[in-house]
Symmetry: C4
Subunit: 265 residues, 4 copies
């Protein structure tokens, strides 16, 4: 499939940058470095939002962002160049085809925020562009076969999960309705409508239980108690489905690794 | 069993409206439309309770309700008419027999709230009639074999579930009693009787933990701590039973689908 | 083993009162009535603590208690009389031996509170004697083989459970110590000692999260966050052990019932 | 391997002190006493931090600490002496080699706090040295093969656990970012940066739900609700992995014990 001699720069780049093309087990050193840079970038993006830090270290944050931008931009160009190793991405048209592929768009989107942050005018936009930097984290998905295995296992049980979510939705709306019925007169702010009561309902059924909103009437407390106990069932259903899906995914992965081990022996 | 030629309007209606009579896999297009209308109706009923929305969009809500009423009423008539395809529901007497069947009553009950809401006089009644509209959601149960599979699996383990609920009840009453014993003097409002202490007890044992009511004495905190740890066991019991029941139901369903697949091949 | 003719009153009483002596499956009608009376008594004991109810219905509560006392006292005498059916409990000495057997003592203890409540002088003692009435609930344990099956399954895994509790204890003390270290200066009331910090620690690790006590320093929040995440592991361990124990117990019971069914066919 | 006659004092000491050298099942009486002293010491260290207790019983705490110090110091010397039973720890050089082994260092570290507490000058240092006493608890790890079995099972699944933690981290950062985006203007103190919003995020995703910080805007509550529901999945993943790891460890241990039983018969 490759059109350049296997030891050309483009061929080496392709092997180092494309996870599927790496001949050894695990990640290539280049991609390990890229992953670490992504994690550093995410941490920097998180800390950069804290006013007490930005006041004192704004210069450092800018330098980190600049360095990361240069690194990721270089990486992006290298990926576009190395894509030529695959037949479908050869030539100018092929490169364009590569640029509109899923991961290439994610890569490009993760580059934009740096430029946009500079031009942001109001506080909300600035916050929004800063958050876009966290999109970089999504790029990690490209390197992990394990994430794909988990996603596949979850997808296989999407029917059961949707049913669980449906049942959860019914329970949420049902308990919110009951509390709306009996508490609306006493606490119009918190239970004056079903959408408002849903806030309490979610906090209770997921057993988070903030306690910012609680029923005050005896009947309200009675229904709330039943809701809290029903919440155990609500959690048991998706927990069972997801735990089984994860265990399947890890089991399958282990068997594949064992087989590989046996082939090598 | 059918008495009309297979391509009569009644026969086609029957195939489209009765899930069991639909020859292909999944739901008929007609029932998919009905399900979507039910979901729209439920969402409208939920949003219609929010004062900030009803003030501005009361006209829109009324139109939605009216359209849905016409649709569901037509559907109801069509179902009564199509029921004649089945021998036991033939003739006037048969139709009457259909009208008092479980799902037909649910269908009719789901139609009533629209008429009742118009005539409601006080706030509580209005809220109550509005909630009756959510009864529509129950109609979705007719279309789903999966819900029936889950219900069957839960029913099979009703004995274990009842035992879990019994143990949970004992733990609830026991911990409420202890807290009543040691906290009643300090917080008569919250722990002045076992029924009052049960509110704290449920919040703690289900790990919801609102925090609106907490023990203040050292002994109260000691018993509360033991209760919170015991709550883990309380949750483990029904979680284990339910998760096993759900996994059984989904497993059985999968095997049935696989068998069907094999038969078709 | 029985010394009276099988249809004597003592023999019939023995068959009806002793769960092991009942020849048919399930509970005898007499024991079903006793169980219902126990549940009514428990409910009455719970409601009797609520001041708003005792003020208005104190007469009714007294009548219920009196009737139950007479019933349970009669039942106690009948049990002592019927015990003579078993060789080891024959004669006056045998009856005395029965009276000091485990369940007979529980039965007697459950009778005492009625007499004690009358003579109680201060509020705490009155509360305490009232709670003793809930001891009746323990009597239900005599009738249920399922409870014994669950207890046996839990006992079988007591080693794993003790290990889980040990790990939980270490985690509790460890996180309480860390929070004591960093929060004691800011919140001496809540984190001024490890026993005080344990209250927060239990609420967090069991995910109850009352929120009456939370760290305020950045370092305190950091350790609290790690504690909350570690709490997931704390819950996973006993949940896994208990869920497996319950599933074992129910499985074994089902197999026994199936065998019985096969023997009858 | 032993160089002294099997009934010399050193040999007996070695058998009693080294868990692996004890010929019978379970722990040696000496180590049981040591374990109990460790637990007493931990409890004393915990209670010693409570001001209301130290004021009244400071003398008792000092005596307990002194006695424990003497006991543990004697035990330490005995261990160093008995280590000579093993070839690698023979002679002066061997003993030095023993003193820098993992458990010997832990033993020594657990002795230090008593001396340090006497010399502590400020409140924080005193608290810190007191906590070091809890290091004694770590010494219990030496005696338990079960803890090692659990740790081994967890280590075997470290890959799955890291993946779970990674997914949890993404979810935490993601939900904190969303809440930061929509709530920062209204609650700068609680949601003014992603690190600040992480405090809320952890409390919600672990379902602890303190309620000290909650979103107030409609959009914030909407995202918070989705976060709370996603939290169920977050918990399901490591719970499934850990529960499977624990069940594996206990199963393997049981099989080993059964084999031992069979060999003895």
């Amino acid at each position: 499939m490759s059109t350049a001699p296997p030891n050309s720069i483009r061929s080496i780049l392709h092997r180092h940058l494309t996870p599927e093309a790496w001949p050894e087990q695990g990640m290539s050193p280049t991609n390990i470095v890229v992953s670490i840079l992504i994690l550093i970038g995410a941490m920097s993006a998180v800390l950069d939002t804290e006013p007490t830090l930005t006041e004192r270290f704004s210069g450092i944050f800018f330098v980190i962002e600049l360095v990361l931008f240069v690194c990721f931009f270089t990486e992006y160009l290298a990926r576009v160049y190395a894509a030529g190793e695959e037949e479908r991405y050869q030539g100018l048209l092929g490169r364009l085809r590569y640029c509109v592929s899923f991961w290439a768009i994610i890569d490009l989107l993760a580059l934009l925020p740096f430029l946009l942050t500079i031009g942001a005018s109001n506080a909300f936009m600035l916050r929004f562009f800063r958050l876009l930097r966290l999109l970089r984290l999504a790029r990690l998905g490209r390197f992990s076969e394990a994430i794909n295995a988990v996603l596949a296992a979850v997808r296989e049980r999407r029917y059961e999960l949707m049913l669980s979510l449906g049942a959860a939705g019914m329970l949420l709306v049902g308990s919110a309705s009951l509390l709306y019925l009996v508490e609306a007169d006493n606490q119009p702010e918190a239970f004056g409508s079903i959408p408002r009561a849903l806030w309490w309902s979610i906090a209770t059924l997921t057993t988070v239980g903030y306690g910012d909103v609680t029923p005050v009437t005896a009947l309200g407390k009675f229904f709330a108690g039943i809701t809290a106990i029903a919440g155990i069932g609500l959690i048991a259903m998706p927990t069972g489905v997801l735990a089984a899906a994860f265990s399947d995914a890890f089991q399958r992965r282990k068997e594949e690794l064992d087989e590989l081990q046996n082939l090598e022996d």
